[in-house]
């Protein structure tokens, strides 16, 4: 085979491998960096309750300025995660994101059977917890995100009290 053709084929092969590896890795690397950043701020498996986003909110791209967030970066290696919170009378949701950034579970205020939520997130089965729904995570690490809609700034103090109830903690094995 012509040496130039061989060099071109090797270049192409390396380009294809690096291309596919990069596209595959990007969401996983971004999620990994986000989890590490949360861990540096509040530790894993504990809630982070930022204020209503404004131009200073620069942790996650495209924050909604109308939503009050609570985030928990989790690592199920320490045990299943108990996710709890009281649900206000406005749009509310809790969503789970896997290590590859997929949104594998979401529950909103209209789907919740009660005005409070109790979910156990586990990687490989979980101990029964009274009154708790069990969700299986496809990965050991990921992010839980609560969203609460603030329709009127006058409601903010009341919704911040709800925000304080939204939490996550590791269940002891």
């Amino acid at each position: 085979m012509n040496i130039w053709l061989r060099r071109a084929l090797w270049t192409l092969l390396i380009a294809i491998i690096v291309h596919l590896a990069t596209v595959y890795a990007v969401p996983r690397v971004i999620m990994g960096l986000a989890i590490n950043r949360y861990a540096a701020l509040v530790k894993l498996n504990t809630p982070l309750r930022p204020p209503l986003p404004d131009a200073r909110a620069r942790r996650v791209v495209q924050p909604s300025p109308d939503l009050l967030y609570v985030a928990c970066a989790y690592d199920l290696g320490e045990g299943p995660l108990l996710v709890t919170g009281e649900i206000p009378d406005t749009y509310w949701s809790v969503s789970f994101f896997a290590a590859n950034s997929d949104n594998f579970f979401v529950l909103n205020d209209r789907q919740a059977k009660e005005k409070r939520v109790r979910i156990v997130l586990a990687a490989d089965g979980a101990p029964p917890v009274e009154g708790a729904q069990i969700v299986i995570s496809p990965s050991w690490r990921g992010v839980v995100l609560f969203r609460t809609l603030v329709l009127d700034l006058a409601d903010l103090p009341m919704l911040q009290r709800f925000q304080q109830t939204m939490s996550c903690e590791t269940l002891s094995r």
Partner: protein, 193 residues
């Protein structure tokens, strides 16, 4: 021997550069992966989905990290006006649409880094509460870097910007076919500064 080694190294560097560059270009290329253009707005049809293709997953991680799946929320992102011209900071745009069958909607302006734009009136979006529709169910506001009368959404004084249209808990027919939406129109008003 050294010559072969140098050739090998050159091929490795060139191949890796081509691979990285093409990956980044396709991740950021609107229209690559399962997406649709709806007026000026682009939607990635499998945002947040566990069945997303790897290009969609990578792009969403870069521009809409932690976005919900489309049964919960639909995200339309505009980087151009209705004529296909990039949204420019020196221009005034009118955004005009009709209220859609969703529980809640908002249109938010983001800077080139996809973060909220600092502005003196601390307005980052319009939503179903902050802009009143007329009797026909239509709403309108303008985006501009300098103060405007009426409904004004501030945009940056330099660099490109984006608008993101969110529909929370959309009606099932919108969730099933988000590409068929009659989206808000984005039209340039007058000459740019």
């Amino acid at each position: 021997m050294i010559r072969r080694l140098l050739w090998g190294l050159s091929i490795l560097v060139l191949g890796a550069s081509l691979g990285l560059g093409s990956a980044w270009a396709l991740i950021n290329a609107p229209g690559f992966g399962k997406s649709a253009q709806v007026g000026a707005w682009r939607i990635d049809l499998f945002t947040g989905s566990t069945t997303a293709d790897m290009y969609t997953r990578a792009r969403i991680a870069v521009i809409l990290f932690l976005a919900l799946n489309r049964e919960e929320t639909i995200y339309y992102v505009a980087s151009t006006d209705d004529r296909g011209w990039p949204l420019r900071p020196s221009c005034v745009y009118k955004v005009e649409g009709r209220v859609q069958a969703a529980r809640w909607w908002s249109i938010t302006a983001y800077g080139p880094d996809y973060f909220l734009i600092d502005n003196p009136i601390r307005r980052f979006s319009f939503n179903m509460r902050s802009v009143r529709p007329d009797a026909a169910g239509r709403f309108a506001f303008v985006t501009a870097p300098t103060e405007q009368s009426g409904n004004w959404l501030p945009t940056p004084t330099r660099d490109q910007f984006y608008l993101t249209y969110r529909l929370y808990n959309p009606a099932p027919e919108i969730g099933a076919h988000p590409e068929r939406l009659d989206p808000p129109k984005i039209t340039r008003e007058g000459a740019c500064e």
